[in-house]
Amino acid sequence: MGNPMTAAIVTGGASNIGWAIARRFAATHQVLIADLREPAEPLPPGAAYLRTDITDASACAAMVAHARTLGPVAAVVHSAAITAPATPIEAIPVDEWRRLVDVNLTGAFLVARAAIPALRESRGTMVLVSSRAARVGYAALDASPGGTKAHYCASKAAVISLTRSLAVELAPSQVRVNGLAPGSIEGAMIPRERWPALAARIPLGRLGKPEEIADAAWFLCSDAASYITGHVLDANGGTWMN
């Protein structure tokens, strides 16, 4: 899958899971890292960075236009998302709810909409990063009943639904679209002091690494997944099994 002449877009690619995905794809593609912030580390060879606000349709169009200058767009991995503090549902400010839905759901729609023509042309493939939160209704394994992050969960569940609609609409063009639902992953999102307690709740006995999510994204984009579309792949160490 991919060759140095084809382009891959990784939204949210400057840090955490997105950064791992960008590094994995940089081995086989010209990667465009689209993020609000620049990566803290040097770009991998073959990668470019474009400041991109995925809630802005014209920015998404510019992102795809930039990627096209690198090569036919063979893969789009949409990883950009935000979260919010764990607050009981009745105390979530409506502006905060709207902000999460705007970034996590509408952003996914805008990225996909902008990328569709390029994906159709190259018979490319897209992966949308959802979350175990979409499956279970709480964001963290150790969430209290008063802090599920309902807006994060709902927005990520909507990404799964969007994934399926995209899969149905784009399949006749031989464009595959799949979802990826990471569980508890090492990184800045989860303070290190919580890792041991979380690991004790995970059948594999550990948190996942960002690189392991990148590996799963890479598989879904590869020819080995050529008959897989509309699927959501859970990479969570066995904490939620479908």
């Binding site: 399949a171 569980g183 059948p203 594999l204 050529s226 066995g238 479908n242």
Partner: protein, 256 residues
Amino acid sequence: MKRFVDRVVVITAAGRGIGRATALRFAREGARVYVADADADALAEAGGEAARSGSRLATLAMDCTDEASIRAGVASVLAREGRVDVLVNNAGGSLHTPYRFLDESDDDWKRVFDLNLMGTVWACRTVLPAMVANGGGRIVNLGSKAGQYASLIAGANYAAAKGAIASLTRQLAMEFGPSGITVNCVCPGVVLTERTSRLWAERRTPEERARVLGEIPLRRHATAEDIAGAVTFFAGDDAAFITGATLDVNGGQAMA
């Protein structure tokens, strides 16, 4: 790409079809593959196909519906290799039992459950102690779209057995995760092998067949190679944090 250099892989009922394609894929990527099957001709053909492509398959005469035969086959691999890194439970099928539930006898249910579910149980029971002792391993079970949703060509016995394999997958994933063993399940849609092509032609009219194909978003049936790609993914390092998962390989025909 050589992901499986020197890894010991056992695949049940791999003389033909999906199993053979998967075995060849593992072999091309460097694995030491043991192809288990009761059909000596199929084993010979699979071995010949591997040789022609410059790789090698070891063959195991094994009746995948018989626990003693499975135990003896796995024991011979363990004696030779000292370990099994990957077990692929590919044995399965509806044995041409009736499609209609009210036509299925108890014997139809027993034979299909023995081949699909108990064959998987017996192989897991035989291999897991060695995987635990070795500090880890990978088990990939073959479920089916039939088990997750429903089947257009096989009956309730087959759908129920495949559904049970998905449940077994989740339970084993939970129980053996702490031992570093992942257990996952690949759920193909219709793969038109020699055997399923016959069922497909017998049990669906040309109009029905055309309609179903038109309803699959990718507008084609799965190939054995499509399934091999998914099985080798679960068996490889790229799936290290994935366990208890079912992966639909059905062209978008049903999405979960």
